[in-house]
Symmetry: C3
Subunit: 233 residues, 3 copies
């Protein structure tokens, strides 16, 4: 149950939360029951940590208790950001203002989730990933280390567009190590983007992208191989 705390103005803290002394808190922060908090956190104004899930009757997300939210050492959460129960955010991540992270999302260390970006349920994200403003990571996706997802990128996972019933198979995207997806690109369900590949801005990707390929257009086609000098290695 949420109760006012004297630690910061407008702060509400749930049961079983151990709030470290060194946390830097904005105004009106809400921390729900059982949230696990690392050292040196910065929690912005009006952010919400560990919000219990509220699924619609027709949601495709698994029910059940997703466990507590956990934030590693040095995590920064922006103003108005919402982190659901069962999300696990590793050390030194930044969740920017108004970002949204759902239940059972796992995020590796040093990853940045941009302003207003959205990560749906049951997504696994690696280390040093950068998801920029308003990027949308659909449920059941895998995003490997060092991936860059530009602003407004949209991943999809439902080939039936809602027609397959509650038990339908959803196929998230797989973004392999060090690939890059340009601004506003749209990926159809189940797409894999290969290691070090680059999807151009505004592309609509309808089939898998080979490793190290540059693809562009609607539908996206391979334009060339990424040069040695551009590889992250």
């Amino acid at each position: 149950m949420l109760r006012p705390s004297e630690r910061a103005p407008g702060l509400l803290v749930g049961d079983g939360v151990d709030l470290p002394e060194d946390a830097v808190l904005g105004g009106n922060v809400v921390i729900h029951d059982g949230s696990v908090l690392g050292a040196r956190l910065r929690l912005g104004d009006n952010c919400v940590i560990g919000k219990p899930t509220t699924l619609s009757a027709r949601s495709t997300a698994p029910g059940g208790d997703p466990g507590a939210a956990s934030l590693g050492d040095g995590v920064a959460v922006g103003a108005g950001a919402v982190v659901l129960a069962g999300a696990r955010i590793a050390d030194a991540c930044v969740l920017a203002d108004q970002a949204h992270v759902r239940e059972r999302v796992e995020i590796g260390p040093d990853t940045v989730v941009g302003r207003g970006a959205s990560i749906e349920n049951d997504v696994r994200i690696g280390t040093r990933v950068k998801l920029q403003t308003a990027a949308y990571i659909t449920a059941w996706s895998v995003v490997e280390d060092d991936v860059f997802v530009a602003p407004g990128v949209l991943l999809t996972n439902d080939p039936t567009a809602g027609r397959g019933g509650a038990g339908r198979e959803l196929r998230g995207a797989t973004l392999r190590r060090a690939c890059r997806v340009g601004g506003g690109a749209v990926l159809l369900p189940g797409i894999e983007v290969g290691e070090e590949a680059f999807v151009g801005a505004g592309a609509v990707v309808t089939k898998d992208v080979p490793p190290r390929a540059l693809v562009m257009g609607v539908p996206a086609r391979v334009v060339r191989e990424i040069g040695e000098e551009e590889l992250l290695g």
Copy 2:
């Protein structure tokens, strides 16, 4: 006028609000004057119900008092969601976290408005509709029963792009019963998507879509008819 209430931590309630005993409230909820609230509500942290309209001097939205916001029985409103005065949300709807619903929007029962989705003024939405994350429903649109709008879909209504003056005619979209619009699709002003039609992900729709047609591409073209087995019926 908003005043603190003892019913929940950080709760602010306006004049003339009858808050049912069985409402489940997060932290820092704001309920403005006159809001009409059904039974078994769940109102998430930092959500705002019945916010008075604040139009810019150049807004195309009608002025005047839109009346109170009303939420039917069993409605769930997510964290950080904003529902304006004059929105009417029927029973058992879910407005997800950070969603936004404007004045004079009417939403039928059992409809889901996804995380960060936005419904502009004077929109009418049916029953069992699903608007997914960050979908954008432009003003003066009509969305019939059982429509599915995927993440990041963008409807537009102004062929002049702001050039027609304050009295200009805006033409929202019409999404007929059981149609589906895929992720990131863009609809030009005044488009009608027919019953059971399917707009592919990433399409740009420049003319009306016949009933039961599958359209794809930029500009969108009819690819085939939707098979019997895919119809909602």
Copy 3:
């Protein structure tokens, strides 16, 4: 340091803030240290003014103290909107609900920033500009007077998609006087859209748009010249 204020329910005000008597305040407003506030402000529920910057270690935004946020006379800030320290908003602007404005953004008078729109750091915006719902203005862009940016427009600035290192050159968009950008259009890095030009909805703009040209498609091509009767003049 934020402290509760008796001026409005849930209001938190930082040090060195002179809150004018005529400000109209929603619930749970947060105003950070040193914010400079004009007359006749309207600040919506849960909005945040002057939030200090929190950059990730790999951010391309300049560090250092951006100075205080300032809001001119008659500015309206919507519910859940976030204005960072060092943003300067001129008289009579409207920042709609859930909008986001970063450090060192300068916005001229009478401009509207739509619901959920995002303006990144170091952007300069003119007078009577209209940025609609969920529009995304990338860092280092210039938007001149009387520009219209439709919902969901996406500007980009990084040709390397994150690969150029922290010191890399970012090239924002330049939107010249009275140009219009249609819904969901995507602009590649460094694009200039000429005076009175019009980018069609859903276009992907890969090269500069001449003044007064209408461009459409993917990639965008010139379709015709804008007629005299459509010019703002």
